[in-house]
């Protein structure tokens, strides 16, 4: 599904990603861990196509097609979803308005008719119920004044509505209380299928108890320095990054 080949990227002229190779097959969940500042969010932005994140070498293939010349909205419509580490507040735009535009943009791309307001509301409310989110969040401005945890839950809610083929979750667990963590993990697991994949960026093994990864990667200084099974996360939790980073150096 996703093939990242020798990916180098700069931000503001600074080399951040320095040769990443990573393949995620359909149905797989990959966890990315690594110290602060190692480039995890940068990788997620590069995948989503953010302006100012320049790929200087390598390629990203999604279902065999290069993403590099696609705009962020085109990538999203192809089925890539990024749950932001820091969700953005949009004053004056209701969550429902925003999400309906998104849903219909994706539907249009898939050759489906617009979802009418009634159906949208029904679907949205059902998904919110699963995520134990108050329906009031539909009428509130996007993320504005949401608590940290509410913002994260709103990201997962959007993902549930858009049903992406590849979900990239950037520290969606941080800021969540224990109950919320379970609910959010269930939201992610509900989307699991042989056709869908996920890249889960996290600092904590705990999330991976709920969203069990097939593969765990350690990112350091813009490179993947170790790859293993889900037990790698346990090892990191116990020992920290120091040894692995030293071994790689």
């Amino acid at each position: 599904m996703l093939e990242i080949k020798n990916l180098h990227a700069t931000v503001d002229g600074k080399d951040i990603l320095r040769g990443i190779d990573l393949t995620i097959k359909a149905g797989e969940i990959h966890a990315i861990m690594g110290p602060n500042g190692s480039g995890k969010s940068t990788l997620s932005y590069v995948l989503a196509g953010r302006d100012g994140y320049n790929v200087t070498q390598g390629d990203i293939l999604f279902n065999g097609q290069s993403l590099l010349n696609l705009e962020p909205e085109e990538r999203a419509r192809e089925g890539i979803f990024l749950a932001f580490q820091y969700p953005v507040e949009i004053p004056g735009v209701a969550n429902a308005t925003f999400l309906r535009s998104a849903v219909n943009a994706v539907r249009k791309h898939r050759g489906l008719a617009d979802m009418d307001a009634m159906t949208f509301l029904k679907t949205a409310k059902a998904k919110m119920k699963q995520l134990q989110m108050d329906e009031k969040f539909l009428q509130r401005a996007v993320n504005q004044g949401f608590s940290g945890g509410e913002k994260k839950r709103n990201e997962v809610f959007q993902m549930a509505m858009l049903e992406p083929a590849l979900a990239i979750l950037d520290e969606t667990d941080s800021g969540l209380d224990i109950d919320a963590l379970k609910i959010v993990a269930e939201g992610v697991n509900a989307l699991r299928s042989p056709e869908r994949s996920a890249m889960v960026i996290t600092h904590y093994q705990r999330l991976l108890d709920y969203i069990v990864p097939d593969v765990v990667h350690v990112l350091s200084k813009g490179r993947i320095i170790k790859t293993g099974g889900k037990e790698l996360a346990l090892e990191l939790e116990a020992k920290g990054y120091a040894d692995i980073v030293a071994d790689a150096a």
Binding site: E73, I90, S101, A102
Partner: protein, 438 residues
């Protein structure tokens, strides 16, 4: 180019029209009008040398030979429906600067309420003409007093509540139209007034609408006043509102300007009694070569009053927005709370804003603040929306609509807000279609 100087040309137009203006047979009215045209002749149009006219020039007006509107004309039903509220209102429609009885409907009024077109307002005409601008505004306001062909008179006695909104709709024509309004609310009276200035669609050549509104809000009274300026793209529009506010009264004003080639809405508010509150919000939507100006002067002449000004500007193409926010706090006006904020989104390289706070604070125990921001739409917000699949143009439109939201929501919920919101959304959609400068 007229052979005569501009002022003489208009004085001539006045002489020719005087006999057919409302109140022509009343000696007192005739004297007032005569004095007004003389005052206009002395002052001429305001020019750049006046501090408050530094950013907005009226030279273009002097290059035209203005005619006064003909005595006839009507508006077609489609245009009328599109420009009016969907709910029951007291509606006064003006076409060609004259009351159009067929398109208007004034419903049953409570006891103690007077609502009539100026041309049929009897003695109130004298009151309406008596008011004048101050040094900064006298020229346009006197021109208006001389030539006012119609307008609205709304008088509420103490305690009278007007349930239905008063809807004033003027359709611009290629002529110089002078409308004059007098709104006076007695103690504890309440009313909602919507003024809207629309494109009459009769011609592509430019008209000039010159409006003067005198508003007096009594003790504990409440006026909600919405204003929409959506004239023809080639038109000129100048408006002056003079508002006085009694103790414990409230004035909520929202002004949307989105039409005309050159427009200025100037609002002077004077606090006359304590514990009164003013909330003035404005939205400018400027594209093409439109030059749209809001100039405010809020005078805290007495203690214990609150005022809030929030103005937002969306400027595309080589549009030009002007915001001048004047606040004066008199030495005795302690415990004044006066806030001002101007925010602007410039969507194109050649788009411009002149935003200027003018604070004169002569009391020491006050809370006053002002701020201004100018920028393009937020790149992070754009990316967030695009990352959800929303096309850039639509993301931009949603962000602009979100930006305007704080102004739109100043309008009371229901048909009135729907009306303003539909207008703003329509403008944004049209702007987004043309591709904007995205």
């Amino acid at each position: 180019m007229s052979a005569l100087p501009f002022t003489e040309y208009l004085a001539g137009a006045y002489e020719a029209a005087a006999g057919s203006l409302p109140g022509a047979r009343d000696a007192a009215v005739a004297t007032r009008r005569k004095a007004a045209i003389e005052a206009f002749r002395r002052h001429g149009l305001p020019n750049h040398k006046l501090e408050s006219w530094k950013f907005t020039g009226l030279n273009a007006l002097e290059r035209q030979q203005w005619v006064l509107p003909a005595n006839d004309g009507g508006v077609d039903a489609v245009r009328l429906t599109a420009a009016t509220l969907t709910i029951d209102s007291h509606r006064l429609v003006f076409v060609n600067g004259r009351f159009d009885a067929a398109a208007s409907k004034i419903g049953a009024l409570p006891k103690g309420a007077t609502l009539a077109p100026l041309s049929a307002a009897g003695d109130a005409l004298k009151d309406a003409l008596a008011s004048a601008g101050d040094d900064r505004t006298v020229s346009l306001s006197e021109l208006n007093a001389a030539l006012a062909s119609d307008g609205v008179v709304l008088l509420l006695d103490d305690g009278v509540q007007l349930d239905k909104p008063v809807e004033i709709v003027s359709f611009g024509v290629p002529a110089l139209v002078n409308l004059r309004h007098l709104i006076r609310l007695g103690a504890k009276a309440t009313a909602t007034v919507l003024e809207s200035y629309r494109d009459g669609g009769s011609s592509t050549s430019a008209g000039w609408t010159n409006v003067y509104a005198h508003v007096a809000i009594g003790t504990g009274a409440k006026l909600t006043h919405i204003r929409l300026q959506a004239e023809h793209d080639a038109a000129y529009h100048a408006a002056l509102g003079r508002v006085s506010i009694g103790a414990g009264a409230r004035y909520a004003h929202a002004s949307v300007q989105a039409g005309a080639a050159l427009a200025r809405h100037e609002l002077h508010v004077e606090f006359a009694g304590g514990d009164a509150e003013v909330d003035v919000r404005g939205l400018v939507l400027a594209r093409g070569a439109a030059h749209l100006d809001h100039t405010l002067f809020l005078h805290h002449a007495v203690p214990d009053c609150r005022s809030n000004q929030l103005f937002k500007h969306v400027v595309d193409d080589h549009g030009h927005a002007v915001f001048q926010g004047g606040i004066r706090v008199a030495p005795q006006a302690q415990k004044t709370d006066a806030q001002q904020l101007s925010r602007t989104l410039l969507l194109a390289d050649r788009a411009q804003i002149d935003t200027k706070p003018e604070l004169e604070i002569l009391a020491d125990d006050v809370k006053c603040s002002h701020g201004a921001s100018i920028g393009d739409v937020d790149a992070q917000q754009m990316f967030y929306m695009q990352a959800r699949g929303i096309p850039a143009a639509e993301a931009r439109r949603l962000l602009l609509s979100g930006f305007a939201y704080e102004i739109v929501t100043a309008v009371p919920e229901g048909a009135l807000r729907d009306y303003v919101e539909a207008f703003v959304e329509g403008w944004l959609a049209k702007n987004s279609e043309k591709g904007g400068a995205a």
